[in-house]
C-alpha cells in the first residue's frame, strides 16, 4: 500500500494518498452495508415509506460521494499524512487511553484512571515519579468527590470501591 517517498530530506511518514484511498474504500464498504441492510428490510413503498426508504436514499448519495472522493484522491498531490515521529507521539497517547478504557469494565473507572495517569505520564515522560503518583491519587479522588458525592452521578465501580463500602 505504501509508496516510497522520493525526496530524501523530507521526514518519512505515511503517504496521504494511501490513507485517503483507504478511508474512501472503507466508506464505500460502509455504504454497501447500509444499502444491503436497508434494501434487505425493504426500501420501497408499502402503504407508506418502508423503514429502509430514507437510509437507502441517503446510502446511495453516500456511495456516490465516497466514490467521487476515491476518484479525487488519485488526482491530487500526495504529500505526507503523518510522519512516523508524529505517529509515535499519537501512539503514546492512544496506547494508555485504550488500556484505560479496557480497564474501566473490570476495575471501575477510578482505579483505571489512576493506572491510566501513571501509564500516560510515564510513557510521555518529563515528570518526576512523585508528581506522577500524587496526580494518580489526587485526580481520581477529586473525580469521586465531584461526581459521586456532589452531583450524585454514579460512575462504574470495581472491587476496590466495593471493599470500601460504596
Amino acid at each position: 500500500m505504501s509508496q516510497p517517498t522520493n525526496t530524501t530530506d523530507e521526514p518519512r511518514g505515511l503517504p496521504r494518498r494511501s490513507v485517503e484511498i483507504l478511508v474512501a474504500l472503507t466508506l464505500i464498504a460502509l455504504a454497501g452495508v447500509v444499502l444491503y441492510d436497508s434494501h434487505g428490510r425493504g426500501a420501497g413503498w408499502d402503504g407508506g415509506p418502508q423503514n429502509g426508504f430514507f437510509p437507502a436514499r441517503v446510502g446511495w448519495i453516500f456511495l456516490a460521494a465516497a466514490v467521487f472522493v476515491l476518484w479525487q484522491s488519485f488526482r491530487t498531490e500526495s504529500g505526507i499524512f503523518v510522519t512516523y515521529g508524529q505517529l509515535g507521539q499519537v501512539a503514546r497517547v492512544l496506547g494508555p487511553l485504550v488500556l484505560f478504557v479496557a480497564l474501566i469494565g473490570p476495575l471501575g473507572l477510578y482505579v483505571a484512571a489512576a493506572i491510566f495517569i501513571v501509564a500516560f505520564m510515564g510513557v510521555v515522560g518529563g515528570s518526576r515519579w512523585w508528581s506522577i503518583l500524587l496526580t494518580a491519587v489526587i485526580v481520581p479522588i477529586a473525580c469521586f468527590w465531584i461526581f459521586e458525592l456532589q452531583f450524585r452521578v454514579p460512575l462504574p465501580k470495581g472491587p476496590l470501591e466495593a471493599a470500601l463500602g460504596y
Binding site: F62, F81, Q86, L97, V98, I104, A113, P156
Partner: protein, 508 residues
C-alpha cells in the same frame, strides 16, 4: 411591545441570584474549556450536559450557554498569547494577535479581542431578540413538507457555502444521517442497522460522538505537535483597557462590517469559522492599513473576533425559532432542550415563553459577565496553559470518558467515544468537515420524520415539495445554495482558462 415586556420578564428570571451564579460558573468553565486544547465549545457543553439533567431547564440552559460564551472568549487568549488557536474560529485572530503580543502589545490585543467579541455577540443577541419571534410566528404555519424544505435548505447551504471539499461535506453529512438512523425506528418501531447487536439498539448518542470527534480527536492532533506550549506573558490593567476602548470608535466601520458578515453566516449555517475568515479578509481588503495586516494591526484582531462571535451567537437564532441549529455547539444545546423535554421550534415561543425570554435575557447578561470576568482573569488562564501537557491531557481524557459514560450509564459508549476519537483525528487530517456530521446526526431523525410524513400526506408523490409558494420557494433557495458553489467554481475555472488561453496567445 408584547415581546418587550416578555424580555423584561426574562431579565427578572435571569437576574435571580442562582442564575447569575450559574452564569459566572458557566463563563469560567467555558474559558477553561476554550483555553485547553482538546476541549472546546461543542464537547465542553456535551460533557456537562448530563450533569444538568436534574436542573430546572432555564438554569440549565443559562449554565450551558454561558459555557458557550466563555469558550468563545477563551479561544482568543491562546491565539494571542500562544499562537495556538484554542478554537477553529480563532485561527484568524492569530494572524495579527500574536504579532501584537510579540511586540509587547499583548494587553491591547486581548482587550481589543474581548471587546470585539462582546460587540459581535451583542449584535447577535439583538438580532435574536427582534427577529427570532418573527421567524417563529411565521414558522407556525409550517407543515412537514415545509419543515423538510428548511432542513434541506440547511444541508444544502452547508454543501454550497462550505469552504471544504464538497464531496467530503456530503460524505460527512451522509455519515451523520446514517448514524442517526441506527437503532429503533420511531415510526415503524423496527430495528435498523443493528445487525443483531443489543448495544446498537439504542443507536448512537450524538453527545458521545461529539465528545469523541472533538475531544479525543483534538487531543490526538495536539499530541502530534510535540506537547509543548510556549507563550507570552500578559497582564491587563485598567489603563490599557480604557486606552484601547478609546481607540475603538475609529474602527466602527470594520466592526459594523464584521457584525453583518457574522450575523449572516451564523443564521445560515456557514458558521463562526467561515465568518471569522471572511471578516478578516474584508477588513484587510477595505482598511487603509490593509498592507500592514499580519504584522500586528489591531483591526486585524477586531475584525475576525467580532465576526466569529456575531456568528456564534446568531447560530442560536434558527435553533430557537426553527429547531435547526446553525453550529455544532448550537446542535448540542438543542440536544439538551430535547433531553429536558422541550421541543425546540416555533411552538417554544408560544408554550415556553418564560424559558425563551429568560434565555435571551441571559445572553445579554452572560456576555457582559463574560467580558468582565475574562478581562479580570487573563493572567490566571494564561497560567493554565503553562501546566505541562502530560498532566493536563490525562485529566481531559478522563473527563471525556466520564462525560461519555454518564449520558446513558454505558461502558460501551466509552468505546464508541474512543472509536469516534480516532475517526475524528483521521477526518481532521484529511479535511473532512466534522460539523455537518454532528448536525446531520442531531437532525437526522427529525428530517427523516418530516420527509416521511410529507410523503405519507401526499401518498408518495414528490409534488408535495412543490405544492405551494412557501415550500417551493424554500426548495428553490435550497437548490440555488447547493449549486452556488459548483457554479461559481465553474465560472472561475472558465475565467482562468480564458486567461491562460489569452496568455498563451500573447506568448506566441
Amino acid at each position: 411591545m408584547d415581546d418587550f415586556s416578555s424580555l423584561l420578564a426574562g431579565f427578572q428570571i435571569a437576574l435571580s441570584w442562582h442564575n447569575i451564579g450559574f452564569m459566572a460558573l458557566g463563563v469560567i468553565l467555558g474559558i477553561v474549556v476554550g483555553v485547553l486544547p482538546g476541549l472546546g465549545g461543542p464537547n465542553g457543553v456535551a460533557i456537562l450536559l448530563p450533569l444538568t439533567f436534574g436542573m430546572d431547564p432555564t438554569s440549565a440552559i443559562i449554565l450551558l450557554s454561558s459555557i458557550y460564551w466563555g469558550a468563545l472568549f477563551g479561544g482568543a487568549i491562546t491565539s494571542i498569547l500562544f499562537n495556538i488557536p484554542g478554537e477553529a474560529w480563532s485561527v484568524a485572530t492569530t494572524f495579527d494577535g500574536y504579532p501584537m503580543a510579540i511586540r509587547g502589545h499583548a494587553a491591547e490585543a486581548l482587550t481589543a479581542a474581548f471587546t470585539a467579541s462582546f460587540i459581535g455577540a451583542l449584535s447577535g443577541v439583538v438580532l435574536i431578540t427582534f427577529v427570532a419571534p418573527l421567524v417563529a410566528s411565521f414558522a407556525l404555519r409550517f407543515g412537514p413538507a415545509e419543515f423538510f424544505a428548511v432542513f434541506l435548505l440547511t444541508f444544502c447551504s452547508f454543501v454550497g457555502m462550505g469552504r471544504d471539499n464538497r464531496a467530503k461535506i456530503i460524505t460527512s453529512l451522509c455519515i451523520g444521517f446514517l448514524l442517526a438512523a441506527v437503532g429503533l425506528d420511531s415510526i415503524s418501531g423496527d430495528l435498523r442497522m443493528t445487525f443483531g447487536s443489543t448495544e446498537l439498539m439504542r443507536g448512537f448518542d450524538f453527545l458521545v460522538v461529539v465528545i469523541g470527534l472533538f475531544g479525543i480527536g483534538e487531543i490526538l492532533l495536539t499530541a502530534e505537535e510535540g506537547l509543548v506550549f510556549k507563550g507570552k506573558h500578559a497582564k491587563i490593567d485598567l489603563k490599557v483597557v480604557l486606552k484601547t476602548w478609546a481607540s475603538l470608535p475609529r474602527y466602527w466601520l470594520t466592526l459594523v462590517r464584521s457584525c453583518v458578515v457574522g450575523m449572516w453566516m451564523g443564521v445560515t449555517p456557514g458558521g463562526a469559522i467561515a465568518a471569522s475568515f471572511m471578516g478578516y479578509g474584508l477588513a484587510k481588503r477595505f482598511s487603509k492599513r490593509g498592507a500592514h495586516f499580519g504584522k500586528g494591526e489591531i483591526e486585524g484582531v477586531l475584525a475576525p473576533e467580532t465576526a466569529a462571535h456575531a456568528a456564534g451567537t446568531s447560530a442560536l437564532l434558527p435553533m430557537l425559532a426553527l429547531g435547526i441549529p446553525g453550529s455544532a455547539t448550537a446542535a448540542v444545546l438543542l440536544g439538551g432542550l430535547l433531553v429536558w423535554g422541550l421541543q425546540p421550534g416555533p411552538m417554544l415561543f408560544v408554550e415556553q415563553k418564560d424559558f425563551v425570554w429568560g434565555l435571551i435575557a441571559s445572553m445579554y447578561l452572560g456576555n457582559l459577565a463574560g467580558l468582565i470576568i475574562v478581562l479580570a482573569t487573563v493572567p490566571l488562564f494564561a497560567a493554565v496553559m503553562r501546566i505541562p501537557f502530560s498532566f493536563v491531557a490525562p485529566v481531559i481524557l478522563i473527563v471525556c470518558a466520564i462525560g461519555a459514560y454518564t449520558i446513558s450509564n454505558s461502558v460501551f459508549d466509552i468505546w464508541v467515544m474512543l472509536g469516534f476519537g480516532i475517526l475524528g483525528y483521521i477526518f481532521k487530517k484529511l479535511d473532512y468537515p466534522l460539523a455537518p456530521l454532528v448536525l446531520a446526526l442531531v437532525l437526522g431523525d427529525r428530517a427523516e420524520d418530516a420527509f416521511r410524513q410529507a410523503l405519507l400526506g401526499s401518498a408518495g408523490s414528490l409534488d408535495v415539495f412543490w405544492a405551494n409558494g412557501l415550500v417551493s420557494g424554500l426548495v428553490i433557495v435550497a437548490l440555488v445554495l447547493l449549486l452556488w458553489g459548483p457554479i461559481t467554481d465553474a465560472i472561475a475555472a472558465l475565467g482562468r482558462r480564458n486567461e491562460s488561453a489569452k496568455a498563451a496567445k500573447a506568448a506566441e
